[in-house]
Symmetry: C2
C-alpha cells in the first residue's frame, strides 16, 4: 500500500510462517464443500472469458433478495464497487464516520472530494448520530461497522436527510440472522439516494476469489455500469457465488457457530485483566488494551510469536495504539487466542 493508514488485516503474505488469522474477518467454517467441489470440477472455466454481464450470478442474487436483476451489479469484491461509486457520482463533499474501513477515505481521495470525518464516540457506543453533522454530497457508512462491530445506524428513517447519496457498506450484515430487519437493500431498490454494497467474501469465506455486489435503483445501476471495467468478476468467482447463496445448511450452521463462539470469546476476553472487549453483533470483536505498558503493536508482535495474527487497530482514524480487533473463529482457535493474549499481557 502507498500509505500506512490504508494497511488492512489479512495480509498473511508478510509473514513466512503459518498463522491462525484473526486479522481478517472470514467465516471460520471455511470453503463451503459444494463450492470446493465445483471449483475442482470446473477449473477449465479459466480458459474462457467470464460472462461480462454475470447473468447467472446476478440472477441468483436477485432471487436471493426477491428483487429485480436490474437492481444488482456484481464486482471484484466490495473494494472495486466502493471506488466505482466514488468515481461515478464524484461528490464534492463526503462524510465518513470514523473509525471505519479505510478504503472509503482512499477512494474518496482518488476523486478529490472534500472529506469530513465524523468521530464516533466510545462513550456513546460508537453510534452514528446524523444530527451532529452538516449535509454532504456523499456519506459512506459501514453497517455493522468495521472495526467497532456494532450497528452504527438503526433509526433508518432519518438517514435520507444526511447526504444526497448514501453508500451503505453492509459487508458484515450477513452474519446477523435478522439482517432483513436492518439492511437498506429494499430501500436502495426504490430510493435513488441509497446504494448498498455487499460482499460474498466474509460470510462465505471466499476473500481470495473476489466477489461483491451493489443493490441500487436501476437508474443508479445504469450509471455505475457505464464506468465499470468489463470482466472484473472472474469465471471461478461467478461459478462459486452462484452456488453458495443456495447453501442454506452452511448459512444456518454459520449463524449458530458465530453466535455461540462470539459469546464465548467475549466472556473470556472480558475476564482477562487489562482487556476490554466491545459488544459485537457480527463476527469480530474490537478490544481495548487497558494496560499502560502494552500497546497494540507490542501485543501483536507477541502474538505473532505464537503463530497468531490479530489486527493492530493503531492505523484506524479515531482509534489509537490501544486497540486491537479479533475475528470470531472456532472454539479451538479462540481458546488458543485467549491463552496467547493472557500470556502476551503478562510476560
Amino acid at each position: 500500500m502507498d500509505n500506512l493508514i490504508y494497511k488492512h488485516g489479512g495480509n498473511i503474505y508478510e509473514y513466512d510462517k503459518k498463522l491462525v488469522d484473526f486479522s481478517a474477518n472470514i467465516n471460520p467454517l471455511g470453503l463451503p464443500p459444494v463450492v470446493k467441489k465445483a471449483l475442482l470440477n470446473h477449473i477449465d472455466r479459466v480458459l474462457h472469458y467470464p460472462d461480462p454481464e454475470a447473468k447467472e450470478l446476478t440472477g441468483c442474487i436477485a432471487r436471493y433478495w426477491g428483487i429485480a436483476k436490474e437492481n444488482v451489479l456484481v464486482g471484484n469484491g466490495s473494494a472495486e464497487l466502493i471506488y466505482l461509486a466514488a468515481n461515478t457520482f464524484k461528490p464534492k463533499t463526503t462524510l465518513i464516520p470514523v473509525p471505519t474501513f479505510s478504503e472509503y477515505e482512499r477512494a474518496s481521495r482518488s476523486v478529490k472530494t472534500k472529506i469530513q470525518f465524523l468521530k464516533l464516540k466510545e462513550g456513546k457506543d460508537f453510534k452514528f448520530n446524523p444530527h451532529t453533522c452538516e449535509k454532504a454530497d456523499m456519506l459512506f457508512i459501514c453497517n455493522p461497522n468495521n472495526p467497532t462491530g456494532n450497528l452504527i445506524l438503526k433509526g433508518q428513517k432519518r438517514i435520507g436527510k444526511i447526504a444526497n447519496m448514501i453508500i451503505a457498506d453492509e459487508a458484515f450484515m450477513d452474519f446477523l440472522p435478522d439482517q432483513k430487519n436492518h439492511t437498506l437493500i429494499w430501500r436502495a431498490v426504490k430510493e435513488k439516494s441509497i446504494i448498498v454494497i455487499r460482499t460474498l467474501t466474509k460470510f462465505f469465506a471466499l476473500p481470495g476469489l473476489r466477489i461483491g455486489y451493489i443493490v441500487a435503483h436501476k437508474d443508479n445501476i445504469k450509471k455505475l455500469k457505464q464506468n465499470k471495467a468489463p470482466w472484473s468478476v472472474n469465471s471461478l468467482a461467478q461459478l462459486a457465488a452462484s452456488l453458495i447463496l443456495k447453501d442454506k445448511k452452511y448459512i444456518t450452521k454459520t449463524y449458530s457457530l458465530i453466535s455461540k463462539e462470539r459469546d464465548f470469546l467475549f466472556k473470556e476476553l472480558n475476564r482477562i485483566e487489562g482487556l476490554r472487549p466491545y459488544p459485537s453483533i457480527t463476527n469480530f470483536i474490537l478490544i481495548k488494551i487497558e494496560k499502560n505498558h502494552i500497546n497494540s503493536g507490542s501485543l501483536t508482535k507477541r502474538l505473532l510469536k505464537k503463530e497468531i495474527l490479530i489486527r493492530n487497530c493503531a492505523n484506524f482514524r479515531n482509534l489509537n495504539d490501544k486497540y486491537i480487533r479479533a475475528a470470531v473463529r472456532t472454539r479451538e482457535e479462540n481458546l488458543k487466542l485467549i491463552t496467547a493474549l493472557k500470556k502476551g499481557l503478562t510476560d
Copy 2:
C-alpha cells in the same frame, strides 16, 4: 454491455450450445499443465485475501523482463488497467486510431475526455501515421492492433511527439517470437510519457482468471497505485501467473503452433472466393467479405449453426458489416472453420 459498440468476442454465455470459439483470441494450447495442476492443488487459497501488493507475481514479471519491481503494477486483466490509466491521468484530449479495441473509447468516455478518432486506412495496410494528427494529451495504441493483426507502430523514435502520455496496449505482443524488438517496455521504464499494458490472458490462455500488468516509470506506477482498488488480482490468478512466465516449453510450443497454423489458415482463407484475409503477425486474422449478398451478421449466424463462433466486426469504428475476425486455433479446428466458411458463403 450498455452499448452495442462495446460488445466483444468471447461471450460464449450468450449461446446455449458448445461452440468452438474463434471470437476470443486465446492460445489454443489451453491451460499450461503446470498451471492446472497448481490450481487444483491449491484451491484453498481462495480462503485468504490475495496479497494486495502481489509481491511474488510482481517479482516474476520484473525478472522476466529484467526490470525493477518498482516499474510493474499488476491488475485485473488489461481492462482494469486501461480504466486506471484514463482515471489517473485524466487527459483533456485523447487520440484513438481506429479500428481498435473498443475499451479505450469506453474508458475515455468515463473520464469525459475529448476523443479524436484517427482512421487507419485499409489501402495503407491499417498503419498508424503519427504525422496525420494533432498532438493530444493521451494516445491509446494497440500494438499489434486488434482487430487488424498488424504492428501499426514500427518507427518507435517518432512516437514521443504524438502525445503527452502514450498508453501502448501490447496484449498480443507475446505471440511475436521477436517481441523484444518491438515492445515499448524498456522505453516505458525510462520515459514518463509511455505506459505499456500487457496481459497474461491471451498467450497463456487464462482469460477467466483476469491478470494483466503495467510497465511504466516508477513515478507513474506510484500515481497509478494511489487510485487502484486493492486486491483486484485474485489469489488463484496470482498463483497461476507466477508459474506460467517460467514455462519456457509452453512458450516455444505456442510460437511454433501459431506460426504454422496462421500461415495455413491465411493460405486457406485466401483461396476461398469472396474472402480476403489481411496479413497478421499475431494469433488472429481480420477477414473482409467480398460478396455483395453476404454480410458479417449473416455469415456469423450461419457459422453458429455449425457450432462455430467468429467475431462479427460490424461494431468496430471504421469497419463495417463486411468484416469478421477469427483466432488461429489448432489444425483440426482451423479445418472446421474453413469448411464452414466455404459452405456459409455459398449456401
